[in-house]
Structure formats: structure tokens, C-alpha cells
């Protein structure tokens, strides 16, 4: 049953997901061919700043928009399939709440992870032109020393942490929708409120914990960027995973005991 649920979940979101991500890769490829490959890094720095800044801003915007769209896709599938009128069918299938939840976690996380992989691929596509790598070559040792490892390995590490972290963002969405479901009169509003309150509380909690553990102390200055990042990312990821377990428990309870489709 789990496999069938996942199949239908993925099928429902596939069209829009593929369309959006194909468009993203296409834009990246176009930017590489039309802009990046034509940049001359031997030119004076002033002439380079403008196009690079524009690319950076546009790229950031595009990537945020794509991530947002993927999150919305995951959100709508969960909400519509389980808590809108379609829930009348989903909840009368001979499938337990736990199976439903796992199907949604796996299908949602698959989309989230795929989204990040494609974004990473898009960035790689942008910056792997020969002119860029050639321009980077002379400063590479310097950068590697500042970071503590080669830039490519560092990028890969950040990517892996993002992919692990994706699970917590998917669960946060499900948790918020389930909490909203407990207030039948204002389900959507309460879900949105739950989302922002929970994210806010989590951030405060992370800060408080890190401050308590003395991790916000940058005074030493001898650490490389990588050390700094890892000392932040590792506890953050552990905290996120712990939070996932708590959210999973809450969603599991709601989906098994508190389903009230009105």
C-alpha cells in the first residue's frame, strides 16, 4: 500500500515539478552560454562587477522561487489529498494513518531532495565554464586555506547538510497543516500561524542552545571557515533531526487519533 500511495503522490505533483525544474535548468544553461561563457576575467574588475552582481541577484531569486514552489507543491499535495474533500477518499482507503504519513514523508522528501539536487546541478552548470575555472585556478590554494578544504568539497558538504535538513522542512510543513487541522473553523490560518510560530521558536531555541554551549564565540579567529561552518551545521543538523522526531510523533498522533474531516 505504501508504494502505491507514493506512486499516486508523485504522479500528482510530477507534471508541475518537472516543468518548473526543466525551465530552471534551461535558464541556467542559457545563462551559461549567453553570459557566463562570454565573461572575460582578464578584463578590469570594474566591468565585471555589474554582470556578476546581476547574475548573483537573479540566481538567488530564481533558486528561492524554485524552492518555494517545491515547498508549495508538497504543502498542497498534503493538504488537498488528506484534508480537503479528496480526504474523503484518502481516509476511507484501507490504509492506516501511519502509512499515509510515511507515504507523504517519502514522496515529499523525494521532491525536496530532487529539488536541491537540481538546484545544485544548475549552480554547477553556471560556474564550471572553462573561463571561470581558469580564473579561479590562481586563487584556489588561497581559498582552500581560508575555507580549510577545497571549495568543491566544501560545496559538496553544504549540499549534503541541505539534503539532510530537507527532511525537517518537509516535516515542519506537515506538522503545521496537522496542527491547523485541530482548529476546524480556521484550518488554513492556523496552519500558517503554526508554521511561522514553530519556525520562530526553533530559531530562538537554536540561538539559545548555541549561546549556552558557547558556540557563538567567534573571538579566537584562528578557525577556518569550514571549522566555523561545521561547528554550526553539525549541532544544527542534530537539533533539526531531534525536532523531526518530535514533529513526527505529533503528526503521527494527530493522523491516527484526531482526524475530523468537516
Amino acid at each position: 500500500m505504501l508504494g502505491k500511495l507514493i506512486k499516486y503522490d508523485l504522479r500528482a505533483s510530477a507534471k508541475i515539478f518537472i516543468l518548473l525544474h526543466a525551465a530552471f535548468l534551461l535558464v541556467c544553461a542559457a545563462a551559461r552560454l549567453l553570459v557566463m561563457d562570454r565573461l572575460d576575467f582578464h578584463a578590469p574588475a570594474e566591468t565585471l562587477i555589474a554582470p556578476i552582481t546581476v547574475m548573483l541577484v537573479l540566481g538567488t531569486f530564481l533558486i528561492s522561487a524554485l524552492s518555494l514552489c517545491t515547498s508549495l507543491l508538497i504543502t498542497f499535495r498534503f493538504y488537498r489529498n488528506l484534508f480537503s474533500r479528496e480526504g474523503y477518499l484518502s481516509w476511507t482507503l484501507p490504509v492506516s494513518g501511519t502509512t499515509h504519513l510515511w507515504a507523504k514523508i517519502i514522496s515529499g522528501y523525494l521532491l525536496a531532495a530532487l529539488d536541491m539536487i537540481i538546484i545544485y546541478a544548475g549552480i554547477l552548470l553556471l560556474v564550471t565554464g572553462r573561463n571561470v575555472t581558469a580564473a579561479y585556478q590562481p586563487v584556489a590554494p588561497e581559498m582552500a586555506e581560508a575555507i580549510g578544504m577545497p571549495l568543491s568539497s566544501f560545496g559538496l558538504c553544504v549540499f549534503i547538510f541541505c539534503v539532510i535538513g530537507g527532511i525537517s522542512s518537509v516535516l515542519l510543513i506537515y506538522f503545521s497543516i496537522c496542527v491547523g487541522q485541530l482548529f476546524p473553523a480556521h484550518r488554513v490560518l492556523c496552519a500558517i500561524a503554526a508554521y511561522f510560530i514553530t519556525s520562530f521558536v526553533i530559531q530562538i531555541a537554536v540561538l539559545v542552545i548555541m549561546a549556552a554551549l558557547g558556540m557563538l564565540d567567534y573571538g579566537t579567529g584562528t578557525d577556518t571557515l569550514a571549522d566555523e561552518m561545521f561547528s554550526l551545521l553539525v549541532p544544527n543538523t542534530i537539533f533539526a533531526l531531534l525536532l523531526c522526531i518530535a514533529q513526527y510523533a505529533a503528526v503521527h498522533y494527530i493522523m491516527n487519533k484526531k482526524i475530523n474531516l468537516i
Partner: protein, 232 residues
């Protein structure tokens, strides 16, 4: 044999409003039962409790001796009172969806019904008319070989000719061990098809009797009796 549906002091509250209060009755197998009552009397609430879409505030509801769970959902075929299918799916995709999840779904039976209703299986649900959507839904629900069919307003939105076809469909696909619970307010249309009726009034049982008992005792049809009991 256990009753197919059993309610014991079943109560459901929405906030401070009692949608059902202290409802106790049971349904034997092999019967077609009409669940009748004015709007807001708790019909849909009772049906949703039986389908496992709501959790009782108090008391119990049991299907074949079990509280609603995965096992009861296997033997209950439920038609909600609203469009509950993904509008982007095609009719044939819905057929394979039902086949995938319900072991007791008969694709052959569904195809036969869809054909006699002249519904094109390649159409997307959203491009069908309101009445046709309802027919597709009912065809899917009646194509399961279930122990209990729960139909919430199955004939509300379709024309009289289709209504006759649907009632015939219900009679054709019904076998002696199955039970059907139908909620409707088009009583006169289905009266002859029913074994017994349950009247709900403000979330409480007002009457639970067989159609012929009512006719013998009151000398009037269920439809007429209903209008008298619930006169505004």
C-alpha cells in the same frame, strides 16, 4: 451473526453543538436501510463516523464488531455527499486507482456500468457535468463487493431517468449478505427499495421501523409519515 453496524450511546459534538447525542441502534445484515431526517439532523455526521472520517466524542460505533479501522474500511464502500475525487484524473485512471487499493473492486462491473451510462473512460473528471461526476462516483462505489455500502445522498443531483438507473444498479449489485445505508430526502423515490428506515431528529433516534410496519401501523407511506413527524 454480529450486526453489521452498531451504535452505542454514540455522541458527537462540534464545539458546543451536539450533532449526535446518545444514539443507540444496530443494523442487521442483508437489509437496505434509509437514513432519513431534515437538514442538520445528524445524518452525515453518523455516516462520517461509520466511515472513520470523524472520531466520536463519546460512545462507540462499530462495524462488524470493530471500531472504524483499516479492516472495516476494506468492507465498507462509502459514497460521500460531495465530489471526493481528484478532478484532474481521468475516469480510467480512477478505475485503476480503485483496483489498486480495494481488493474487492470489480473493474468489469464498473466498466459495464460506465458503458450503460455512456460515460467516456478517457475523459478527465473536471470536464464532466455535475450529474455525470456523481454517476462516476456511484459506479465506482457500487462496483466494490462490500459488506456495507454507505451512500450519502446518492440520487440528489441526477435527473429522474438516471435516478431510476441508479436504484436499479443498487438493487442489481446488492446481494443477500450485504447491507446498504442510504441517506436521502427524496423519500418517495426510494421508499419501495427500503427494508426499514431510521428517522433522525436533532441528533437523536426518532423512529427505527420497517417500511411495511409503518404502512400497517400508520396506514400511510414513509414519505407522508416523514412530513408529519418533521412538520415545521
Amino acid at each position: 451473526m454480529r450486526p453489521i453496524l452498531e451504535c452505542q450511546r454514540l455522541t458527537k459534538k462540534y464545539g458546543n453543538f451536539y450533532a449526535l447525542s446518545d444514539l443507540t441502534f444496530s443494523l442487521d445484515r442483508g437489509q437496505i436501510v434509509g437514513l432519513l431526517g431534515p437538514n442538520g439532523s445528524g445524518k452525515t455526521t453518523l455516516i462520517k463516523l461509520a466511515a472513520g472520517l470523524l472520531v466520536p466524542t463519546d460512545g462507540h460505533i462499530m462495524i462488524n464488531g470493530l471500531a472504524p479501522c483499516t479492516d472495516t474500511k476494506k468492507i465498507v464502500s462509502y459514497l460521500p455527499d460531495r465530489n471526493f475525487l481528484n478532478e484532474h484524473m481521468r475516469v480510467r485512471e480512477l478505475l485503476s486507482f480503485y483496483k489498486d487499493f480495494y481488493e474487492n473492486f470489480s473493474t468489469e462491473r464498473a466498466c459495464k456500468m460506465l458503458d450503460s451510462l455512456e460515460i467516456d473512460r478517457h475523459m478527465q473528471l473536471q470536464s464532466l457535468s455535475k450529474g455525470t461526476k456523481e454517476k462516476v462516483q456511484l459506479a465506482l462505489v457500487m462496483s466494490r463487493v462490500a459488506d456495507l455500502y454507505i451512500l450519502d445522498e446518492p440520487i440528489g443531483g441526477v435527473d429522474p431517468a438516471a435516478r431510476d438507473y441508479i436504484l436499479r444498479t443498487i438493487l442489481t449489485n446488492y446481494d443477500e449478505n450485504a447491507s446498504i445505508l442510504i441517506s436521502t430526502h427524496l423519500i418517495s423515490d426510494i421508499e419501495n427499495v427500503l427494508d426499514r428506515v431510521i428517522f433522525l431528529k436533532s441528533g437523536q433516534l426518532a423512529l427505527n421501523a420497517s417500511v411495511d410496519e409503518i404502512r400497517t401501523q400508520y396506514g400511510k407511506s414513509v414519505d407522508v409519515l416523514f412530513r408529519e413527524v418533521f412538520k415545521c
